[in-house]
Symmetry: C3
């Protein structure tokens, strides 16, 4: 019978070399107790404003986490096995889905999914390795914990020592949950919305005209013509700012920012409103509008974050059956240098402007992102994101960006997660891997240890506060 015990090792994720590890251990210890700053993510604000207990282990830990379910799917299991696309699960369904993951736990070997999940189990007091033989015991332990107040959303927020938690929101969202939290005298945390206008900038999407109509309703600004549309977006940005927003988020397939002549933007907009714009015109309008977003950032100070280069819903039958965000988005190559040039030539040294560049295409780290962040005061190199939020990828990121852009122009860690309970695990992974990287510099006499402590502290708190203007 295999060993069933699970015990996170204090030196986990620290470099193998004993000399480097000793320094990394000290560096990690110096930042282990710092608060968590989470300036980009997908946890619903409602969870905290309502503070309802979480329903069951599966709907909390598995179903919404496409990192977990996609690995199981890749092995041949149907996504429905894990509750994807289903409504609330019955107890037997939830238990069966949980067991289906535990039975396949060997699939997670070598992945950060394992680290995140097992760290969450430790949070719930579970000291058992996921396996067919332990699945029910783990499930029961988590289910029981979830009935206690110690595992309510607000208790966890406090226990995680979250300093700030950002949500991601539609421009038409009324941000009611954020408002309720702000008005709640029993709440002392900070949950900020993020303005994510993607769908409003893509005039070729089927629902675009209806979305733009709704934008007019919500903003109180007519969107019949281009000037009104821009005004409505500005109004919603102001609304988000009033509700605490510090950034806008943009994820289109490319990062181009070519401006249109004002008349041309208005012309395409009008055509799109009549559903007569071509695909090329819609794309040109979107690229122009990203430049407009930068212009607005100069005025209102919202930091722009770019997450380009993903082919969404790559497997169409999965999208048709289960919808978006279920693990079938696949990256494509990214180009930043020429794409951003129009925007950066205009706003790159504007004191109001800041932009954080994320990528799933690692080739741009040393070739484009670090050179841009190492020249433009407005540009920050975004932390490794999504598929790259993992130990080896983080090491490659640091190795690829630091020599050209230093540490100061990197964004700090961004968990970007829907899995609330994994937030501490994700930040701790980042702190451990960064501690190892910086320790390597110390052992190679590229950095003195007194400065290494400052670097680690900066990466955990100074950098995200500065990059996201917190």
């Amino acid at each position: 019978m295999p060993d069933e015990t699970l015990a996170p090792h204090p030196d986990r994720l620290l470099p193998a070399d004993p000399g480097v590890r000793a320094i990394a251990r000290r560096l990690h210890a110096s930042v282990e107790g710092l608060p968590i700053i989470s300036p980009h993510g997908h946890v619903p604000a409602r969870w905290l404003s309502e503070n309802l207990p979480f329903a069951d282990p599966t709907s909390l830990l598995i179903t919404p986490d496409h990192y977990v379910t996609r690995l199981m799917h890749a092995d041949g299991a149907d996504l429905a096995t894990f509750g994807v696309g289903a409504g609330p699960l019955t107890e037997p369904q939830s238990r069966a889905a949980f067991r289906a993951v535990c039975e396949r736990w060997s699939l997670t070997r070598g992945t950060p999914v394992r680290y995140w999940f097992e760290t969450q189990l430790a949070l719930f007091g579970v000291a058992l390795r996921p396996a067919a033989s332990t699945a029910d015991r783990i499930y029961d332990a988590v289910a029981e914990a979830l009935t206690t107040d110690a595992f309510s959303p607000r208790s966890l927020y406090a226990r995680f020592d979250l300093e700030v938690l950002a949500t991601t929101d539609d421009p038409c969202d009324d941000l009611a949950a954020h408002a309720r939290l702000a008005a709640d005298p029993t709440w002392s945390g900070r949950v900020v919305p993020t303005f994510r206008p993607d769908r409003y900038l893509e005039a070729a999407l089927p629902g675009w005209n209806a979305d733009v109509d709704r934008l007019a309703d919500v903003s109180g600004v007519e969107t019949g013509d281009y000037a009104g549309f821009v005004g409505a977006l500005e109004a919603r940005r102001a609304y988000f700012r009033e509700h605490g927003a510090v950034s806008t988020d943009h994820s289109h397939v490319d990062a181009r920012t070519d401006p249109l002549e004002p008349g041309e933007a208005a012309r395409i907009y009008a055509a799109a409103r009549r559903a007569e714009a071509s695909a090329a015109e819609a794309t040109a309008l979107r690229r122009h509008l990203i430049g407009e977003m930068a212009r607005m950032s100069c005025d209102d100070g919202l930091v722009m974050t770019l997450h380009p280069g993903v082919r969404r819903n790559h497997h169409l039958p999965t999208y048709e059956r289960y919808g978006a965000d279920v693990g079938t988005d696949i990256p494509v190559a990214v180009e930043y240098t020429d794409a951003l040039r129009p925007m950066l030539s205009r706003y790159g040294t504007h004191p109001g402007f800041q932009v954080v560049l994320f990528t799933l295409d690692e080739t741009v780290f040393s070739r484009e992102v670090a050179p841009l962040a190492g020249f433009y005061p407005s540009v920050y190199a975004g932390a490794p994101w999504w598929f790259l939020d993992a130990p080896e990828a983080i090491r490659r990121y640091r190795a690829a960006t630091t020599e050209t852009a230093g540490f100061a122009k990197t964004s700090g860690f961004v968990d970007d997660t829907r899995a609330f309970c994994s937030i501490p695990a994700r930040h701790d992974l980042s702190r451990r891997v960064d501690a190892g990287f910086v320790a390597g510099l110390v052992v190679e006499h590229r950095l003195d240890e007194d400065e290494a402590y400052e670097v680690l502290h900066d990466l955990v708190v100074t950098n995200p506060r500065r990059a996201f203007r917190l």
Copy 2:
């Protein structure tokens, strides 16, 4: 006088850190004795069916191995020096060619060519470093060994502990050598053909019409129209299946799979048969036919392997003088995400379909291959291939794919070689480097050691059996 002795160190290729090395040594020891599974390669089946002794050291170890000769050519030596393009060599020619390599042995420093070649020398009982001063002694030792039955092809097959050896074959090949082996009561090995239809799918090639005529002759299915052509391909796939084939192999310059309307495919095919198809039409037809190959795989279960992104015969004068496969193929960038989308949207979750993605463009490992293999049950991340079949590249591959796709969705090692005697060296290199990678996970407490043994075992036997349906 420099040291002349050659002695492979038991810890060769294991990581430098003593702690990691100790674990890697144990992991490697646990798989060192496992059989060799070689599901993709270029050794002629005839060598084993006829079991004739190898002619001489040079024509066995040097002339056909473009890894060796291209390094010598890059230093200024003419390929003819090494017997390339020549017929059978006289003894003085063979000896001179062998010496020409030994004299230039310093060129192989830091390359896997050195590892493979020196491991082969150990196989022949040679304990001398290649050099001008040792060339004749090495040559004599190898030449003498080759006269003994212990070095006949079948003896080596047994000594290598080959479980399966795949060849690569033209769809019109009669597979006579495979049939003879199957019918030979004194033979207990397994040599399987691989269906490689590249030339039949490229209607712009000069010989295409003649090839397609021959396809009709061999298959007994008329190829006068598109439906007949498809039927003839299906017939030959069935023939290959009957002779043991488990996979088809495809190497075009890109990986696109865009389907044509049925009528359009027939129209282009007809034009091509009249030698009237444009280059763009021929390319469109080839991309469509790759999708057809996937459709056939769903039916007949042959695993599809893709090896795109090589500009063949880059130096035309070399091609004109020496022909193909002499070391002048140069990689180009690869794109998989959009290229495979039509095929994977159709067949990506079909239980009959399996595809292994190889690349010489490392940028797609983390960006495209691992995300695809980490979602689609049909997709496997192919092992590092050709120029990337080397220690540092294998480490980069594991670091780039494991965090997103785990270990389970990688293909297992593929030697892809014409150099029969190098097969054990190549597989052992892979086992050693993988042992080192996995040991690193253990030391960093990312994987427990009991699981690490399972991972190594899987990589050596379970994964190739599963990926290639052996």
Copy 3:
């Protein structure tokens, strides 16, 4: 109060593992005393021919070094703060600029800028860490040193043990400084010019017609038609050869070499002389002319070096205010395989031809550069350049190129710097990092230590002499 002392550690930049480090230390010691070969750089020859003392610390160490000033600019400091774009600085201006860098010294953590700068301080006898509190003391020490003969350009040339130093020069340059040095009986060094014709090959540039007129004046060959233009370039190459040049340098945004029909080149040239060539025609002419440069290299033996893939003056307002080469050049993706095919199919095995391929796009190292250098006798893999001239990038380069091209086909280190005093630091960084890489091969039993010493020696002296025909 933080530690103020600065003491370069003897083991700096050597690998962390004690076993690897011990070997690396021995390897580095074996090449530490070898002369410096600097076959590509930007130090003015006039500094050595005139041997005037350097003016002040800032104009020597900071203002011309865009590696330093761009990091400061990325943090929000104006380039003017550091004297960029200003004429000669007053003492207070120079001191203030120097202090502005020292105050921001934490920005250089983890970058090679720190290593280079601190090694230069050691050269000046300074043992203080740059900081606000030490800025004036450092400034004073450097300023005082500069008044002594020990820090004259020629004294430093001797102290650096420079064997050869290449400058980069306009084809119309009269190379007077080079001639004066050659004629100076008190001078025993070697300073060679490099022929850099970029602007003459880009017919779309605003000043092109005037440049070509000047080329006629200087060469004495009429440039009224294409044949004359080619003849004028040939004449200037010959002039450069007579003054010691060994190479030509080319930096265009792509590396294509497609030839034009002779008549077509003449036609476009004539149109461009009338200012009537389209942008596409000008690009086609430039690509053709790169092939012509290769043809001339076959005849005159000048080594061709290619540095493509940079978007120059990315931030236009900075260019308009400060001019070129101030840190706002940003890399773009590079393609070599198809781009060079026309040139290499013609001249790739010509004994007179040699080309060194540099890149800021690391993706081509394993995919294109190493395969090309590992086949073509004429092709060398250029050392990591500019943003990639840094420890981690050099390690990636060696790991990406060695397995396919070996060590012999790499160019040797190229400092490419305007910062004269940083030359020893840059070469020593390279020697240290290469020593660490090769030591890793020894510890993993991939190379015996006796050969490792030869490899290090070759990388430092044999390779650059061979690649640049010195």
